[in-house]
Symmetry: C2
Subunit: 301 residues, 2 copies
């Protein structure tokens, strides 16, 4: 398999009701790549400043993530995001955003990344996604994430991007915003008329839903009590989903899709149990499979 | 099986963004009883005024619901509730409440109801539930619903009731309110220390969860696009859940519990497709089973 992700890398400062961490590794590409790496090799394209630490390159190398597509900008600073979670650990307020090197990011794909079969455009400006796609030939499956910001400020680029992808991953509130529909299922179906052949709606602590023309699959969230830091859960979910699909040769039959939703849910449930990549570093694929079995007994009937 | 429900009967006036209906049959006992009737006989205890219509008695008789426990108060008026749903069809505002005969309701169980095996105390004052339980001998399974109102104004009676029931059914926000916990799973587990052996948390459009000391089962909601009127969905869910459990002789093994959650979800999904009992009158157990099969393909993996 060759799974490629293009997205942001960040140093996050995160405050929860019980703890605070400063300048910890985050961003859509790292969370996606680490989550997907439990299922096979991953190629990562992103941009960082010269404050990038070699220990992160090592961490990803250990996981089989090829970081040769991470551009290190000399004299540049890595993108910074700072946020504070409220008591319910779902709602959060952005305290500060410093785009830094992300503000002028133009993805340059290494030659050996350009024939990847499975592509994920992690959350980023639609124009960045389009620039990446223009360097790719003959991919089997192209999936993109998006968010409210791009729906609001880059709708035209987003509409162009939607026509070039196979699948879209987004939050339920964003699906409603994108379509003007108030019902999640209706919104997902309307997105299918904008280009994508399937939509994966993320509902946070309420799970996720896959909708294509003739199919609907639903997975509830794993009922975790230990939410330490929800940052990266959505990107991790997408990483588990895409990683599993890629490991199955890009098959999109019902059983593969349901298992991909479930594996996405499982890796995301580990992600939120620690700050940054703390929990990921402690677990292996076998822990994910054990939790999947437990989850199957909770959900399948 | 003998499944008994004690609860309110109402004439509802309901406004949605697209329609309005006045004085249509509602209330926790009727919705529970009709939903449960797809799985076997039901005995209903409630109170109405002399504005009760014989057509409702006939409707329930056809479904195998014994209405001999409905007290008709001469010169009394049936409880009225009036509410308006917002655009999202989830949030609603109460416009008016007239307790009428419900204000002085003292449940009187017919002799042949007092040895029922399966008891459901539908949403109502905890004191009403306790008064009903004092007339019951040797029940196999006692389950109660509750709501924010009773948590706020009748906490002492509620605490007494919690020690006399096997299971509690309530919304996720109510579970959090009852325990002061912010995490749904943690809240459910804390409720187990208050008396019940199991808790069923209803999450509306996000499904439901069963929690006991050693077990957790989760079911997402059926992804319906046709929400005409959500009134009665929670009571219908409970009716499907209890009706199925009663039809299995009160078994509480994992497969029975998961199927009970699923059947509760299925009947509730039909309930919201019409006002009052409109949709229920059109369907049979076979329609519910067909939707269950469809749902199984969406969810089980």
């Amino acid at each position: 398999m060759s799974l490629l992700v293009i997205g942001s890398t960040a140093y996050d400062t995160i405050e929860t009701p019980t703890a605070k961490r400063e300048n910890i590794l985050g961003g859509s590409a790292p969370f996606f790549a680490y989550a997907a790496s439990y299922f096979g090799g991953v190629q990562m394209v992103s941009v960082v400043g010269d404050d990038w630490l070699p220990e992160y390159t090592e961490m990803f190398a250990k996981q089989g993530v090829d970081t040769s597509g991470i551009e290190i900008v000399p004299d540049g600073k890595t993108f910074r995001w700072s946020g504070k979670y409220r008591e319910n650990m779902n709602d959060r307020d952005t305290i500060d955003t410093q785009l830094n090197v992300l503000g002028t990011f133009e993805p340059k794909l290494p030659e050996n990344f350009r024939r990847s079969q499975y592509i994920f455009l992690a959350n980023g400006a639609p124009s960045t996604g389009l620039a990446a796609l223009n360097q790719i030939q003959g991919a089997d499956l192209i999936v993109a994430d998006t968010m409210d910001l791009w729906i609001n400020i880059a709708r035209q680029d987003l509409d162009t991007l939607l026509k070039r992808i196979d699948g879209l991953v987004l939050n339920d509130s964003e699906a409603k915003m994108l379509t003007g529909e108030l019902n999640t299922v209706t919104a997902a179906k309307k997105i299918l008329t904008l280009g994508p052949k399937f939509v994966v709606v993320k509902k946070g602590e309420h799970g996720a839903m896959f909708v294509s023309e003739y199919e609907t699959y639903i997975v509830p969230a794993y009922p975790t009590e230990t939410v330490v830091d929800p940052t990266g859960a959505g990107d991790s979910f997408a990483g588990g989903f895409m990683g599993y699909v890629a490991s199955k040769g890009g098959a999109l039959d019902g059983e593969t899709i349901k298992n991909a939703l479930v594996y996405g849910t499982m890796v995301a449930s580990f992600c939120v149990e620690g700050f940054s990549f703390d929990r990921y570093k402690e677990i292996t694929r076998s822990d994910i499979d054990k939790r999947r079995e437990h989850f199957q007994r909770m959900v399948s009937f």
